[in-house]
């Protein structure tokens, strides 16, 4: 596979912004995804992930800003570029009246290069029969068929928009295995968005987290977990009000404890926490999911005082 844009990042986004009516759904997004990277694109519903992907794929026009996909302007897709990029959109759509084999033949007709071995390997992985009607497949099987259709042209860049949405754990695992097995061989680039952080944790080299249209994190998973820390402060009596810390995203108080989730905690933050005179301070490692939930969840304090409940009794 050759062509323009074999050097440089697989995806380069500069100042990408999208308004829908008066609402800004993506705000000044800057991002570079290097080649050979498995990139997890995270965020809550409505964070702007799908809109960003749709702008990258030339389906939605950006309000301003630019993006390059394999070195090409994302508003000027050519058939050659589409051949180099596999895109699996939300919902795993296939033409239900076609059989699995017909789906493959139909899709293969558009591509100059089509690897039937990959197609058959993936549909075999999902236990699909060639004569099965696509409309009668289970959700997981349909995802497998879509993946087979996306992978068979051996794209340089694979863009998957929430590929595991609605799949059971077994189907999700199959999907990930198939995706990784095929794409890692040639060191290809994958951009995938997901809400399933265990999947992301398993495969992603890097992640980006979007929140309300704004990019808030772009790092490795380890970095993310290292930067989002939880501190448990234990007190003899009722804990004081949470301190004003610049990186504090979440706090939680019980009768004797105060849990503070802090991003980019510094020595100064630690000093402030010590200044509250707790009996002990415990720094806790968060899993990706907990770190993510704290990071993009509702900010502010949540409290749960046992004696309040007792008083009501």
């Amino acid at each position: 596979m050759s062509g323009k844009g074999n050097e440089g990042p697989a995806i380069a986004i500069r100042g990408l912004t999208k308004y829908y009516g008066g609402q800004k759904v993506v705000d000044q997004l800057h991002l570079e995804i290097p080649r050979g990277c498995i990139f997890g694109f995270l965020g809550r519903n409505g964070a702007g992930k799908t809109t960003t992907i749709r702008m990258l794929m030339g389906i939605v026009e950006p309000t301003r800003g630019t993006a390059e996909v394999l070195g090409h302007d994302c508003t000027r897709w050519t058939p050659e570029l589409r051949e180099r990029v596999g895109y699996l959109a939300e919902g795993h759509h296939v033409y239900g009246w076609m059989s699995v084999a017909e789906c493959g033949r139909f899709q293969a007709g558009f591509y100059r290069r089509w690897n039937w071995d990959i197609f058959h390997a993936v549909i075999g992985h999902f236990n699909l029969k060639e004569k099965q009607r696509a409309g009668g497949l289970s959700r997981g099987q349909r995802a497998g068929l879509c993946l087979a259709l996306t992978l068979a042209p051996e794209p340089e860049l694979l863009v998957l928009d929430d590929p595991a949405l609605g799949l059971d754990p077994v189907a999700r695992r199959s999907l990930l295995e198939a995706m990784l097995y095929v794409t890692r061989q040639d060191d290809r680039t994958i951009l995938f968005s997901s809400h399933l952080l265990s999947d992301v944790e398993r495969v992603a080299d890097r992640i980006a987290v979007m929140d309300r249209g704004v990019l808030r994190a772009y790092c490795t998973i380890d970095d993310f977990r290292a930067r989002v820390r939880q501190f448990i402060l234990r007190f003899k009596e009722r804990p004081p009000a949470p301190p004003e810390l610049p990186g504090l995203v979440h706090s939680f108080r019980t009768d004797r404890e105060m849990a503070l989730t802090i991003v980019n905690a510094s020595d100064a933050d630690r000093a402030v926490m010590s200044g509250l005179r707790p009996e002990a301070i415990e720094e806790v490692d968060l899993g990706l999911e907990e770190a993510f939930v704290s990071y993009v969840g509702e900010r502010g304090e949540k409290s749960f005082f046992l004696h309040d409940l007792g008083g009501k009794k």
Partner: protein, 687 residues
């Protein structure tokens, strides 16, 4: 493209078959109503209004449904991505889809329609003659369905801020369809509407597809086509609004006056209000008492007016062949009539009068110059090509340049009424009625040549012959009245409407020529000019500002001019006629249209300025809005993808959100506010 084509064919084949069945059932129902017993006055024809109504509405519904079914399911977000993310250009995908859609649509519409045509052509199927040219209106309707197909594609594809503006594609198709199906419209206008409408809607739909329904990524050609679609759609919408308003606000009958003659031979000036006789006066303006009963039953005391038909060959400025409606049965088989058990037609191609048995639906009688013979016997000598056919109370006159025949369908006779003297040319002819119930033997025929006015019985017996009147200006005979007991004839002359403007005609008198055949005297009475018939609520004329009158008329002139340039004779006639019509229009409507256009352009300029999209090319847009009037303004509003405008965070001036730098201070857009919780190991900031 072939992959998409076959996919679309397979995906929509069932819908097309269902559509064909539905359309076929509707056609069958429409066809059955042609034979209904209560339809005895209408003709059993593929041009029957009840049948054509099915093609006029059914074919567009079929085309529209296929268009929506091809696009709407795939417009769901993920499906659309699956459709377009493949290594072919959007062009190929669109044309693959469109080719499949049309491949399904045309057979689905044509097969049942042609079956109906085939049935109509079978001898004994209908009690009327059939010509395959009569399938043209149905075919035109089926081509209109293709307009609606592309209108539906455009409607389903376009992303718009206001959902209602999506429908403008269908409204534009409706406008073209109205031209095609308008009863008075010609084949020429149909061709124009289809040849202009189809490519425009096709290109607009193509552009919307290539740009995923958005505006800015569309090719320029598609943007131009979209502008035209929106303009025609807006114009059609306003046309519908003004028509509905007129129908609901204004009482349909019109007010007006006309001259008539009563059975005593008095010339009376009749004043009608809301379509009812209101008052009567004599020529001098003295009131004539009329009872309520007389107002109700005018046929009891007024002579039945006979219309004098002008021969078109004598008036070459009138539109000729190609400008007659091809949707009207009478333009294929002139002047049908009926007698007991029989239906009568004149077949111009064969030159025969044909009589069909109403029950058996078989051809019984063929009429030629020697009279009528049974269809199983050798055919008589045909009448030959006619200038026109005039009929009154079921008694036709066949007008030729050198002969006039009258036909008696009861006695099955043909009479030669007139042959010209040297240098004589027939100008007009009509049948004069003593009363509304007169039969063949009581009527009289009045002919006007360039030399004489002639009166005779329908069998050709002469009643009078007088010299043709001469006027300083051009007058045309309009009506004739006949009072048989005194053997008196009255012929009314009016100013030539094609030669004089409305304002000129308002000042020109009318004339009534009285011919007393018994005493051989001729009297010419000058009568005051009559005002034009006008709508009973003239103030609703103010709704005219909604209409795109300049474009409507300019389009007629332009198309006729193109026809002239390419040497089309029929279009050349149209050019002359439309040019005169357009000049008349300009005289009366130019100033209101200019005011409307200027107002629309001023509002458009304000919008462009306010939304910060004023550029040099905007003058062209304003010129188009000026020409399009209110419809042009609406088209501009829905055409443009108006950018959002916000205050610049740096200088406070208003700036467009789609531009990187502020035109006031040059500042870019600020980065989102950082709160210290960002984790940007690999960049992600605009450095």
């Amino acid at each position: 493209m072939s992959g998409i084509f076959w996919k679309e064919v397979r995906e929509n084949f069932l819908w097309a078959v269902l559509g064909m069945i539905g359309f076929g059932i509707a056609l069958a129902y429409g066809w059955s109503t042609v034979f209904a017993p209560n339809n005895w006055q209408s003709y059993q024809s593929i041009l029957s209004p009840s049948f054509l109504m099915v093609t006029t509405f059914g074919a567009p519904i079929l085309g529209m449904a296929l268009g929506f079914l091809q696009i709407m399911p795939e417009r769901l977000r993920d499906r659309w991505a699956f459709l377009i993310h493949r290594p072919v250009t959007p062009n190929r995908i669109f044309w693959g889809k469109a080719a499949a859609g049309l491949t399904l649509y045309f057979p689905a519409a044509l097969i049942p329609f042609l079956l109906a045509g085939w049935h109509a052509s079978m001898p004994g199927a209908i009690a009327a003659p059939f010509d395959w040219a009569m399938i043209r209106p149905g075919l035109a309707d089926i081509f209109c369905g293709a307009l609606f197909y592309f209108g539906a594609l455009l409607t389903a594809l376009r992303e718009t801020k206001w959902f209602g503006s999506k429908a403008f594609g269908l409204l534009a198709a409706l406008g073209c369809s109205a031209v095609v199906s308008g009863a008075g419209n010609s084949l020429l206008q149909t061709r124009e509407a289809l040849l202009v409408g189809l490519p425009i809607l096709m290109v607009a739909a193509w552009g919307a597809f290539c740009a995923n329904g958005e505006f800015n990524p569309q090719p320029r050609l598609a943007k131009a086509a979209l502008a035209l679609v929106l303009f025609f759609g807006a114009a059609e919408l306003f046309g519908l609004v003004s028509t509905l308003a007129e129908m609901t606000v204004q009482r349909p009958p019109w007010n007006g006056q006309q001259y008539q003659v009563d059975l005593q031979g008095r010339i009376l000036r009749m004043q009608y209000k809301y379509g009812q006789l209101n008052s009567v006066s004599d020529v001098q303006g003295n009131p004539v008492p009329v009872s309520a009963e007389m107002k109700e039953r005018t046929e009891k005391w007024l002579a039945g007016p006979g219309l004098l038909q002008s021969l078109r060959d004598s008036f070459p400025e009138m539109p000729k062949k190609g400008h007659e409606s091809y949707r009207i049965f009478e333009n294929y088989f002139s002047d049908p009539g009926y007698t007991d058990g029989m239906l009568w037609f004149y077949a111009p191609k064969q030159g025969f009068s044909l009589g069909y048995h109403r029950q058996n639906r078989t051809l019984e009688w063929i009429g030629g110059v020697e009279g009528f013979v049974h269809s199983e016997r050798p055919k008589p000598q045909p009448f030959g090509p006619l200038g026109s056919v005039v009929s009154q109370n079921n008694n036709p006159l066949l007008l030729k340049k050198d002969t006039v025949y009258s036909l008696d369908w009861v006695e099955l006779q043909a009479y030669r009424l007139w042959t010209p003297q040297a240098g004589e040319t027939l100008l007009a002819a009509g049948v004069a009625l003593p009363s509304w119930e007169s039969d063949f033997n009581e009527m009289a025929c009045v002919l006007q040549t360039n030399q004489h006015i002639l009166g005779m019985t329908m069998k050709g017996d002469p009643l009078f012959e007088v010299a043709a009147p001469s006027f300083e200006k051009t007058y045309l005979s309009q009506y004739c009245f006949f009072i048989p007991k005194d053997n008196r004839f009255f012929i009314e002359y009016r100013p030539d409407g094609r030669k004089y403007s409305d304002d000129e005609r308002k000042k020109m008198p009318f004339y009534m020529q009285e011919i007393d055949a018994k005493n051989s005297t001729v009297t010419m009475t000058e009568m005051p000019p009559l005002p034009e018939w006008h709508a009973s609520r003239p103030w609703t004329k103010c709704l005219d500002f909604l209409n795109y009158r300049v474009w409507n008329d300019a389009n007629s002139v332009l198309s006729a001019w193109i026809g002239k340039a390419i040497g089309s004779e029929e279009m050349e006639d149209s050019f002359r006629w439309n040019r005169d019509h357009f000049h008349g229009y300009l005289r009366h409507n130019l100033i209101p249209d200019i005011i409307t256009g200027l107002l629309a352009a001023a509002i458009a300029a304000g919008l462009l300025w306010r939304r910060l999209v004023w550029e040099r090319g905007c003058w062209g847009l304003l010129a188009l809005v000026f020409l399009g009037g209110l419809a042009g303004l609406v088209a501009l509003w829905f055409w443009f993808d108006w950018p959002r405008v916000e205050a610049c965070p740096a200088c406070g001036k208003r700036r467009r959100t789609d531009l990187e730098a502020c035109p006031g201070c040059g500042a870019g857009w600020p980065e989102p506010v950082r709160d210290g919780t960002e984790i940007l190991t690999f960049g992600g900031e605009n450095v």
